[in-house]
């Protein structure tokens, strides 16, 4: 492991990669601050730029963008009560009241220190857990992988959208349907191409991400007449006050951080759960842990109440890399985008990544840590200035997002059919978003579609067409039982609310 850490450090600490982490954190913070634009959009917009890099550098840039976007989301939560991403909603519960009391700088500092500590602790967990899990996951067979993917898709549908399980499952099926377009990987038979040569290779992952996130988010902002710039202007005008944290507040943070980090990391590892659930659970858990006097302060600017969700959401971000790096199965929409980018580089994440490309495996882990340091040292003091840079009017911001989306696709194929297809999918996605059909399940399903069909094919061929493979192996059975429990829980909660 020490050797791996050194490999990772030497890769992550190269001048180019440090620069990439800094650029990534900076760009991520700017995009994450804009209400409505989250880490997935931020990463998607970076994809065209990563084409010219080697895989480690590209992935390091994306990891920086991811953390930067989460940090940017916290900033708009604290200063405006307008969370950029769902994972920072709980941050606003105590962060915003603190800002209203004239302690915005302090709230930002507590959020940054908590994020840093949560990220650091979970990076250590990742350092220990990922190689061990890689070894364990070598024992996984096709039926287990198939069951795990079913679990991941069910979990993201259950957790990513409140009370919209069926809608999310429909998006999963739509994502899988889109993934079947093009040549069948084994027999080379073309499917659903309708004799269009441009569809023979299937629909590109970048096209789907750009259409359903970057482009459709830009169209949604215009459609709803929202002006993200209005919010950022407010940030730049807000008086931040001191960013110093006193001894009493430090002690409070020191109590909260360890437990929230552990909870956040564990939740992050679970497929589909991620930063949003981690931050809410950490907030709830912290409220139960503190004494009666502190409990009364929750919702009114409590240090515990701000530190807990911030620690947990960052810890969950690191945790979500565990299934991606060890099993090759992303647990969240954001890591699904990263998986797509990795596949674009010709790298298949999974248990063997640890052995075949140790420099990528370790450099991603080490760059996460470097990203945290960059966020703390550079971004925190620069927040008021970053916010001023953000005073780009909507009239310029939206065309620029569209420009990045189209360029990303054009660079891949130099073909205008893909641009037409992207515009079409973006229009459909915009209407679906309007009626709360969630997009992350669609992305995850699209990314997993090929692998899912492959593992199902192998499982069915081994069991000679019998469905016995679903319960023959204990691991498969346990994973499927967890899936059934999640589905039953969704049905139960539906009926309970009705009654």
């Amino acid at each position: 492991m020490i050797e791996g850490i050194l490999i990772g450090l030497s890769t992550a600490l190269s001048l180019t990669n440090i620069l990439m982490v800094m650029v990534g954190c900076f760009a991520g913070t700017i995009i994450g601050m804009l209400p409505g634009l989250g880490p997935m959009t931020a990463i998607a917009l970076m994809i065209p730029i990563t084409y010219g890099f080697d895989p480690s550098t590209g992935l390091i840039l994306m990891a920086g963008v991811y953390y930067g976007a989460v940090f940017g989301g916290s900033t708009s939560s604290i200063l405006l009560n307008a969370p950029g991403i769902p994972g920072t909603v709980a941050t606003a519960f105590d962060g915003y009241p603190m800002a209203q009391q004239g302690k915005a700088g302090k709230a930002l500092a507590i959020a940054a220190y908590s994020s840093f500590a949560g990220g650091t602790i979970s990076a250590i967990f990742l350092l220990v857990a990922a190689p061990s899990l890689s070894k364990v996951s070598l024992a996984f067979r096709s039926p287990d992988y198939f069951a795990l993917m079913i679990l991941g898709l069910t979990a993201i549908s259950a957790f990513s959208s409140k009370g919209q399980f069926l809608k999310a499952m429909m998006m999963v099926v739509l994502g899988l349907m889109l993934a079947t377009v093009g040549q069948d990987s084994l027999s080379d038979i073309t499917r659903f191409t309708f004799n269009n040569m441009n569809l023979t290779d299937g629909i590109s992952f970048v096209l789907i991400v750009m259409a359903t996130f970057a482009m459709s988010e830009a169209l949604t902002i215009i459609f709803r007449g929202k002006d993200p710039n209005r919010a950022t202007k407010q940030i730049s005008l807000t008086e931040l006050g001191s960013i110093k944290v006193n001894k009493e507040e430090t002690i409070k943070m020191a109590k909260t951080i360890p437990r929230s980090s552990i909870l956040g990391f564990l939740i992050g590892v679970l497929p589909g759960a991620g930063a949003t659930i981690a931050s809410f659970l950490a907030y709830g858990m912290e409220r139960n842990y503190v004494n009666e006097e502190e409990k009364q302060k929750f919702g009114k600017g409590s240090v515990h109440g701000l530190s807990a969700p911030e620690t947990a959401n960052n810890a969950a971000c690191s945790g979500s890399f565990v299934p991606l790096l060890t099993l090759g199965i992303p647990g969240s929409g954001t890591t699904a985008v990263m998986l797509g980018a990795l596949l674009g580089f010709g790298i298949q994440p999974g248990p063997r990544l640890y052995q075949t490309n140790p420099e990528i495996f370790w450099s991603v882990i080490m760059s996460m840590y470097i990203g945290m340091v960059v966020l703390l040292i550079l971004n925190l003091p620069l927040i008021p200035y970053i916010a001023r840079i953000l005073a780009v009017p909507r009239n310029y911001l939206i065309p620029l997002i569209l420009f990045f989306s189209v360029t990303g696709i054009y660079l891949m194929s130099f073909n205008n059919f893909d641009i037409f297809l992207m515009i079409g999918i973006a229009i459909v996605a915009t209407f679906l978003r309007l009626y709360d059909f969630p997009m992350p399940p669609l992305i995850l399903a699209f990314v997993l579609g090929g692998l899912m069909e492959e593992t199902l094919r192998r499982s069915l061929l081994i069991s000679d067409g019998s469905p016995n493979f679903l319960w023959d192996r204990p691991i498969t059975l346990i994973i499927l039982l967890i899936t059934i429990i999640i589905v039953c829980w969704q049905i139960f909660s539906t009926f309970r609310k009705k009654s």
Binding site: V173, G225, F403, D436
Partner: protein, 156 residues
């Protein structure tokens, strides 16, 4: 009877799933693969049925949370302009090249979104695209096809 938009979308999804399933059953597989436990049709057939079942459930089950959208508040005009500009952009990008088409696309988008500061609009279109192309092509060595710039000798 008024059908809610969510149920209408589910109905469209049902139609799509039926069409997908029909197409899945018509996928031509090799003769020796016809009765195999798994062939190119199997997974799409499962998906087609899953789509049909889920959309029927969404249509028949009462809605727990209804999503209301006030269409009067939606800016249809700007979105239609943007989509038309994007479609024109996609149609001409191969003919007139990346640089000119992208710069014109940005300029037109700023204009239709209500911007009238001509100088800024110009800087954020032509010089901006040129700088971006230099970043990609010149610094990052990412190939960017532009027959026009190649023709006038700007790009190699």
């Amino acid at each position: 009877m008024r059908i809610s938009p969510t149920k209408f979308i589910s109905l469209l999804f049902l139609v799509l799933s039926v069409f997908y399933l029909y197409t899945a059953y018509n996928i031509q597989v090799f003769a020796f693969d016809e009765n195999a436990p798994f062939n190119a049709r199997t997974f799409p057939i499962y998906l087609g049925w899953a789509g049909i079942i889920l959309s029927i459930l969404k249509i028949i089950l009462p809605e727990k949370i209804t999503t209301e959208v006030n269409h009067k508040l939606l800016d249809y005009k700007s979105i239609i302009y943007l989509i038309i500009i994007s479609l024109i952009y996609a149609a001409v990008i191969l003919k007139i090249g990346y640089f000119i088409s992208t710069s014109l696309f940005l300029f037109a988008s700023y204009y239709f979104l209500g911007e009238r500061r001509w100088g800024l609009m110009f800087i954020l279109s032509f010089p901006f695209v040129a700088a971006f192309m230099y970043l990609l092509h010149g610094l990052l060595n990412i190939y960017l096809r532009d027959p026009f710039l190649k023709y006038i000798g700007v790009m190699g």
